[in-house]
Structure formats: C-alpha cells, structure tokens
Amino acid sequence: RCLSLIKSTKFLNAYITVAEETALKQAEESEKRYRRGQPLGVLDGIPIAVKDNFNTAGIETTCASNMLKGYISPYNATVVQKLLDQGAVLLGKTNLDEFAMGSGSTDGVFGPVRNPWSYSRQYKEKSVPKSHSEDKDSNWVITGGSSGGSAAAVSSFTCFAALGSDTGGSTRNPAAHCGVVGLKPTYGLISRHGLIPLVNSMDVPGILTRCVDDAAVVLGSLAGHDPKDSTTIQDNFKPFELSNLPDVSKLSIGIPKEYHAPGLSSEILALWSKAADLFKNAGAKVIEVSLPHTRYSIVCYHVLCTAEVASNMARFDGLEYGHRSDMNKSTESMYAATRREGFNDVVRGRILSGNYFMLKQNYENYFIKAQKVRRLIANDFVKVFGSGVDILLTPTTLSDAVPYTEFIKEDNRTRSAQDDILTQAANMAGLPAINVPTALSERGLPVGLQFIGRSFQEKQLLTVAKWFEKQVKFPTIQLEEVKRHDHGVFQHQKSASFL
C-alpha cells in the first residue's frame, strides 16, 4: 500500500531511492513471523523511510550530492540496523538538502521536496490564485529542511515513521512545516555510527512520526550505547511507554523571552501565547525565563558548523569511493576537480569558510571564541533548568511554510541563518527537543510548537508533548492521493501498531 502511495505522490519528490524489491521481501518475511506468532518486536512489519545521509547496505546512499551518486555503502548505520533487526520494512531513502546543509530541502541534486500540504484541501481552499493562467503547481510550498523528504514521507502517509538528522533544527523544522512530530534526542543517546556527519559535535539522528506515542516507540528501539560510537553514553537505556499525564499542575513550563525573535509571525506568536495559557489553565506553573546568549547562537553555529564541515568533507577526494573526476594530471588536480564537480555551492562555501576559521592565525579568534560562546549558551539552559523549570515551550519556526518561489529568492546561507534561530540552540547544548504540530495557519498550513527538555529526560519531554498533542487535536491532512488509496488509513493514522 505504502509503495503504491509513494508512486502516486512521486511529484512530492520525497524519495531519492525506493527499495521496492527488498521492501516487499521484508514485508513478506514479517508477515510470516506474525503468522507464527513470533514478531521480532513492536516495529516488525512497520514501513519506514530513512534520510539519504544514513548508510544503508546495498541501497544507494547519496546525501543528495553528485559526490555520492551511485555510492552503495557496504554497511548499515547502527540505527538502520536496529530498525531492520526489529523487522521494520525499509521503503527507501528520502530527499534532503545536499549533505544536510540547508533549511528548505531545496538544495539537493535531485531537486526540491514539495510539502504535501501544498496539495491538501486545507491549503488549496485558503490559497488565492494569482492569475488565471497560473500553473496549478507553481505555488507549492517547501517542506523546510534539511530532512524534508522524511517529513514529507511521513506526512503523506507513505510510511509510518522516518529517520531524519538534526544538527541545527533539520528534523524539527520540516516537522513543523509538514505537520508531523519531529524529535531531536539528547546528544549521545542515539548512535551516530553510519550517519554521514555534518557537525559531529551537534548531529543526532532525528525521528519523524505522526504522533508522539510513535516517536516514543521508535526512540525505544534506537536509543542506547553503541561501542562503535564513542560519543554515546554508557548508561543503560530503558525504553518507556508514555502514560497519559493526569494533570500538569506539577509542571513548570518556561517561556524564554529571547525566542520572541525578530521575524516571528504574529500568527505563531499568538499560538505560542495560547499554548502557554493552555498549560496555565490546566494548573501548570508557566513563567517567563531568559536565555540571554540566544542571539549569539547563529553566529557561533556558523563558525563551528563550517569548521567541522571543512574537516568532515576532506575525505571526499574520489580516491576510495564516490565521484572521481576524469582529470588525472596529478593527484592534486584530480582532488580539486573531483571536489569542484562533486559538491554544490553551498557545501563548497561552507568548506572555504570553515578552513578560514581554522587557520592558525584565526583559530583563537573564531573557533575558540565560538567554543566559549557555545558553553555560555549551554549554561543558559543549565541555569534555567536548575532553577526549577522542567520544560521550555517555544515556537519551532518563524512562520508557516513559504512557497518555493519565495524561498529561493534568498540564498541558502541567509535562509539557514533565519530559519535555524529557534531550533539551533538546543543542538549547541545537546538537549532533547520536539516539534508537536499545533494548528493550521491562516493559509491552511501546519504550524508547530517546540518543547525543549533536560538532558536525557526524553520520557518527561515526550509525556508533556503527548499531553499537549491531545489538547490541540491537530487536524489530519486531506490529500486526494491518500483518500483515493485507502479510506481505512485515516482511521488508523494515529497509531503505528495497527496494520
């Protein structure tokens, strides 16, 4: 079912590779196990999609880049392996910004991802055609990024869960724009082995699902120490089931004033306020807090991110794998040509910046300084959580999804700087954060709100998120394609354990 839905929603461009044969085989195996009464686990048979920057053995992994077009990895990322071990069915690899650099999922070599909500009845009803001869397609909106393909895949019902990655908001941002749950776990909780890195010290695998309960289930299968990743914590992780929070009166919700960022749409501001009231009226303690160094986080992120990118991309030289230029006058010229041909402007721009910041004469003033500022940003959170606040409530994005034609008017760097502002600090501090779809905007597009929790307190974070999700009752997307396919899907869309 999912496979044919993928085919009929091909115009979304959410998938780079669809692994039809292997998926069908996996589904068959799963069915056999269920008949024997021996499912491998809760995820057995559940169709999932994986962002194309995770290594999947035997299935192309491209990172939406010419550098890795046709690259077939010999190994599975740990998170992929864990899902497969549970019996999950891997449908395919989803589209992204090249090497996960971007906030629109528009800058990959396979083209941009279209937000399924662009084709929803809700959006179409609200949108005003600009002219008679307007192409039906021309005002489709972006998914956000960089895990746009994964978000779109989940949002359009082609899979029940998807893996994304989150370095500056790349899971939460598209989750907000596509009306799905996007969880960024605490750094060190889930293994990064096999996730092609953007910023090693900030990257985490992200989880995209249609409801908070599903996110908790997937988290349960993925979290835990991996000896192959020395940055995962040693402590034993106990998967948990989310209880229905009886009341929130014991909770203290913090509203960081700095997140009232310039450019925040009045719509979202109002929604944020409404959400705060929701908690207050339910008996929670809702207080304004301050994270004073928030405004430095974008600049700080820019320095640290580009530096790590320059370093991480150094391995792409065409020698061992990936694209290799035909230029063969010398090793150096081959390297240079390969990298020029293989990387897009965004990637090359970040490499150049990063190398600049790491030069001996600049290192102290840029890299070291940024590290220090990073600690200040992280300490802001420590102080706030230390003062008794349990969860922070903030907007996830500045506005609802913009049309693609609008989005590309500014360059990648500008857009990233604008769009990351509300999500990025959580990556700096390594904290868990989640986007919960909240309501539809005036244009009929999803808007989400973000909860940020304490380190390794995913259970508390998700419990609160689940309570909130129940209160807001976010509407289901009304997509022709989905309707055509299966009425029954709507009934079951809330829980992945139904198949």
Binding site: S230, T231, A310, S311, A314, L319, T331, Y335
Partner: protein, 496 residues
C-alpha cells in the same frame, strides 16, 4: 667554535593486534589493501574507537622514559591532503599528549676501544598517540600513484627528544637505547628496516653566546648507522655554508644513503597550516591510578597507570646493572651483551651450565662467539654453537683437560655445526693435555738436558729464558701440555 644542536622526532609503530582506532589487523608485508577496515578507508559515517592496548603501550613507554603521564589527554585532527591519508586528516594529540617531560639516559664510549663509557641524558619533551598513514608509491613511467592503505591507521607513538644532543654518535646512541627500551617493554618491535621505528633529525649550529641557528629537518633515515652519518653530514654542511657567508634555509632535507649526504626534499607538505581542530568523535582520554580509580568502575573500560607501573619489566639500564653486579663483568661488557639480541640470555645460559667464572666466560662470549657471529652475519639465535656445547667446552678447559689454545681450535670445529661434541673433537684431533705428570716430567727433563746454555742463564737469574724452555716443551708435546704445570715442573727441576 660552533655549538651543534640535535633534536629528534621518532615515530614508533605500536605492537598491537589491531589498529589505533579500528579493528583491522596490524601486519607487516601483507598483500596490498588487505588490512583495511571501513574506517581506515574513510568511508563516510564511520567513527574512531580507541584501542586500549595502544593506550597501555604509550603509558608503559612514558613510564619507562620517566615521563609524567597526563591523566587527561586529548585527540585532535591535523589536516592536509595526500593520497595516503584517506580522511584528509590525521588523528593525533597536539594540544595535550598522553605523556610529557621525561628523560632518557644513554651511554657512549669516549674512545673507540669501548673501555671508557660516559652517560648522557636527553630530555623527552612528550609522547603522543597518532595514526600512521598509508603508503603511496609513485610510478613515474605510467604517471600514476599506487596507494596501499594497509598501514593507514596503525598506532604510532611519536617520541620527541629535545635538542640536547650534539652529534651523530649521540643521536645514534640515544635511538639505540630507546629501541632497546621499546623492545624490552614490547610496546614496539622497533625494527627500523620494517618501518617500525622512523627517525627525523632536527639540526642547527650556532656560535656560543649567540642565538640558536636556523634548523633543518632531515628525513629518510633508514638505520641507526645512517642516522649518525646524516646528522654529522648535516652539521658539517651547515658549518661550511655559514663559513662561506651563506645562510641556512629552514627546510626539510632527505638523507641520500648512497651519496652519504642530505639533499633538499620535494616538500610534500610545504609550509602548511594544518588547521588543527579537536577530534569531536573521541571524548578526552581519562587514565586512572590507584588513588583516583572509582570503586565500581568496569575494569575493561579503564587503564590504571599504577597497575601498568607495577608490571613493567626490567629496563635495559637495570638489566645491565644487574649483570655487572651479579657476574662481576665490566659495564661496557653489559652494553655489548644487551646490544645483541639474545646474547645476554646466551651468556647466562652458559653460566648456568659451567663452573668457569663469569669473568672468564664473558671473554669467550664477547670475543669468540660474537666475532664468529659477526663474521658470518648470524644472529645469536642462528648460532651453530649452542650454550650447551660452549659450556661443555669451557668445562673441559676448567678441568684442565685441554689448553686454552686447544679450546680455540675446538671452538672453530664446533662452529662447523657438524654435530660433534667437544669431547669427540678433542679425541679426534688429539688435543688432550697430557695428564700423566711423570710423562711430562720426563719431557721437561729432556728439554732441560738439551738446553745447557739456557739452563745456565736461568740459574744465573734470567727468568725470562724460562719461557723459551716452556715453548720447547710445548713443541715437544704438540701443544698438549698445560703451560702453567710445565712452568712449575721446570722451576722445580731447575731449583734442584
């Protein structure tokens, strides 16, 4: 009137089963690219995992070199592009290495006769863990570069010796001592010809009282002998340049062993900015000692410095001192014993099996055995004369069954390795000393009777002439008489 300043950077390959950050095997001369893990090939998404054995090797080495072991050390990335560096960076320890501030004592002979030794010390600046690179071979005829990644990622200890040395001999002696220490510890096999020990020398000269001169780095030194040559050549070259009014360039030079000189190197790295950055995938390396070890720590996850310290074997300097004390041999003897792989064990084996005093045995080991080994380019292990056979021979000498001249002949026979015992050879060649005193007395008498003039001279007080008589007796007995005994008998007769 020039002060010579020599410092060394030594890379020792760690003796371990697997590489520093990945599980692929460490092995010399394996088929190209057969020992390469995904991480070694820098496949995207792979992460480094630190090898415990490599950490232990570095700690052992640091302790043996009197270093302070840093309980917290860090890993960094050093970036440059080269075909043998798949990731485009090397993981090393630039900010805080695992061990610092140590020292190494080594000995030199003042003159060439090995009779006077002087002890010198060189400061060890630091020891750091880092990855080895792969190997690249340039095929100019086909205009291509062949890359073998077997060595990529193997663990190295870089040992930095401060510029406390002043000539090739000192550098060579220091490296030799380091090599012995590493081999004793087992932390590195340190065989230079297999690339397990690589030495780069930093050389400069200046007039006393003036600031240090510009230094050059000398690479491509493939043996300890060449190290001494390269350093001495470079010192002379620099002095000549300065004397001619020219200046020294801060450059890297390669030692050409055929020509015996240093030449400017085609700088593969140039004046590079390595853009050092902390390695984000490796947390700080924390080491413990008995005091700081938390109670319920998983033993597998922890390296305890004190535990390692307690289990350090005797270092060469200690071994030498013990040999001198136990056996009464000279210090320079102990150096030679340890310098030759297996020789001190051989020596001690012989001691166990013979009544001959160690002070006498050592002569046989160092003069006879060793010179034969050297002449035939054999190692101690390959010696056709076993410790058992040599001990047997020495026992016969002690028992006065043969003379020392005869013993040398037997030794030469044994060397042929035909499986004969000393006793068999003695019998075969009729080398036994005449045991019958009466026979010997008779021969002495015969000689005395035949040398009237000499006898008179001796009786008149010229003792030296006695030696001629002894010689005649020896000739008469075909060397089968004990000269000491002959002398006694002659003296007795002459005094009658």
């Amino acid at each position: 009137n020039y002060l010579r300043i020599v410092g060394l950077e030594i890379h020792a390959q760690i003796s371990s089963n697997s590489k520093l950050f990945s599980g692929s095997q460490v092995q010399f001369a394996a088929p190209p690219n057969s020992l390469v893990s995904f991480f070694d090939a820098s496949l995207p998404g792979t992460l480094p995992v630190l090898n415990r054995r490599c950490v232990e090797a570095a700690v052992m080495t640091g302790l043996a070199l009197n270093c302070s072991i840093n309980k917290k050390s860090l890993f960094d990335r050093k970036h440059y592009f080269y075909a043998d560096l798949p990731a485009g960076y090397q993981i090393t320890q630039q900010r805080v290495p695992i061990a610092v501030n140590g020292s190494l004592s080594y000995s030199l002979c003042i003159d060439n006769k090995m009779s006077q030794m002087v002890t010198k010390t060189v400061r060890i600046k630091q020891i750091q863990l880092e990855q080895d690179s792969g190997k690249s071979l340039h095929d100019d005829t086909r205009s291509q570069t062949l890359v073998d990644l077997n060595r990529a990622g193997v663990g190295l200890m870089e040992v930095v010796m401060e510029p406390d040395m002043c000539c090739g001999e000192e550098a060579a002696a220091a490296v030799r001592e380091l090599q012995l220490i590493l081999q004793t510890l087992g932390s590195s096999q340190a065989v230079m010809s297999e690339g397990q020990l690589r030495v780069d020398a930093n050389v400069s000269v200046h007039h006393p009282g003036e600031p240090y001169g510009v230094r050059t780095e000398v690479k491509n030194i493939n043996s300890i002998r060449f190290l001494a040559k390269a350093v001495d050549y470079e010192i002379q070259r620099q002095i000549k340049e300065l004397e001619s009014g020219r200046t020294i360039l801060n450059e890297t030079r390669a030692f050409d062993s055929k020509l015996g000189c240093t030449v400017p190197m085609r700088d593969k790295e140039g004046k590079q900015d390595y853009r050092f950055m902390p390695e984000p995938n490796l947390p700080p390396l924390i080491l413990y000692d008995a005091k700081s070890l938390p109670a319920n720590m998983n033993h597998q996850q922890v390296v305890n410095i004190d535990w390692i310290h307690e289990r350090l074997p005797d270092l060469p300097s200690v071994k030498r001192a013990k040999l001198v004390e136990r056996y009464g041999i000279l210090p320079e003897h102990s150096f030679t014993l340890l310098n030759e792989d297996g020789l001190s064990e051989f020596f001690e084996d012989v001691i166990k099996q013979t009544q001959m005093k160690p002070k006498k045995v050592i002569g046989w080991i160092l003069k006879d055995l060793l010179s034969y080994l050297k002449k035939h380019s054999l190692t101690v292990k390959e010696s056709p004369v076993s410790s058992f056979l040599l001990a047997d021979l020495l026992n016969r000498l002690e028992e006065k069954e043969i003379s020392s001249t005869a013993a040398k002949q037997v030794f030469a026979e044994l060397w042929k390795g035909e499986g004969k015992t000393p006793l068999e050879i003695v019998k075969e060649k009729k080398l036994q000393l005449i045991q019958d005193q009466k026979d010997l007395e008779q021969i002495c008498q015969t000689v005395i009777d035949g040398q009237e003039n000499e006898v008179m001279a001796i009786k008149a007080g010229n003792r030296k002439v006695l030696n001629k008589l002894i010689g005649l007796v020896q000739r008469e007995t075909q060397g089968r008489s004990n000269p000491v005994l002959v002398k006694q008998l002659l003296e007795k007769k002459l005094s009658e």
